[in-house]
Amino acid sequence: MLKVFYVICGLLVLVDFMVHRHIYHDWENIPAFYAIYGFIGCVVLVLIAKRCVSS
């Protein structure tokens, strides 16, 4: 099941290069912007949440 998940994640990154998006901000031109944004967003989210609970 995890393998399927990783494959889907990989495919989504590839699709990002092919699908035309309506761009509102220059940053969205960065390759695989949403994958990076999502990943960093989630990591930061969890780190802050853990700190909130431990403090």
Binding site: M1, C42, L45, V46, I48, A49, K50, C52, V53
Partner: protein, 373 residues
Amino acid sequence: MNSVIPFLPLLLGALAAIFLRGWLRNLIMIAAPILGAINLMGMDHGVFWSLEFMGYALEPVKVDKLSLMFGYLFHLASLIAVIYALHVKDTVQHVAGLAYAASAVGAVFAGDLLTLFIFWELLALTSVFLIWARRTDRAYSSGVRYLIIQVLSGVLLLVGLLIFAQVNNSLLFTQIGLQHEGIAQIGAWLIFFGFGIKCAFPFMHNWLTDAYPEATPSGTIFLASFTTKVAVYAFARGFPGEEILVWIGVTMACFPIFFAVIENDLRRVLAYSLINQIGFMIVGIGIGTAIALNGAVAHAFNDVIFKGLLMMTMGAVLHMTGKINGSELGGLYKSMPKTTVLCIVGAASISASRCSAVSYQVDDYGCRGCRRL
């Protein structure tokens, strides 16, 4: 006008469920929300029932587009929840569930603040039995805490409406707003916080994440559909376009996520997610334009359906395994494949995936609403 009072079919269904058993009760419980929705279709806009009480004009049933939308939503939600609860052989849950739905319908058709207050308290009194029906010590104490907070919300509303009745000599529930002079200002804020508690505003939200995960699997479906949505309706009616709601809504949309990602109890994760979704609706009401209010109501519709679905899948997991902590579960796609697929559908919908209702809503209202800002 051949219709009856909107909450009557659901209330009669609840009363019938006390005495009936077996397939006859199941039939009545399914028929009540369907007949209720058909009844709504025949209702004309305007005051359906008015009376005078201690010199004040009351309008216990008033119909307009906003109340009708929520009326249809609550009938749909109660039908879904009733079907999910049919397998449970527990009269308390069946009766409380339908009476709770009837209270929610009564609240959204209330044309005056006194009637709203009565249904506001009935919502609390009927729904607490869905928590107590779990019949554990944790659920009992959680239910007591829930009831105290809900009654407090009602008391704030009562004091606020009494001040308003004194100042304006009217109890009718129209736009209240926060800009008033003198004591009316205090009344408006009391009503605002009374609504805010039921809406799970930041720092007033603990009752929700405390009580909803302790309710029975079927009870949580009812709980997730009604109380907070009635509060959203009350804000849309009483405080549309108040800028403070935008900031409160944005906070509600963000802060629960931090708690949700490190929470182990999956139904509590969904409870945090519920607050997050209400935050989006509150932002829409705070913006206050017609299209933003449309978006908020449309999102309430979506939320009841996809959050209901997710709560149902988690209820099914709890029912089958007896466990609800993420760390104790795994490999459920093998033993519960249908539930897995439905959970993925719910999760895709809440993530606004393509073809889901939320994605259309984001396209339609979100983008246009934001451009107006």
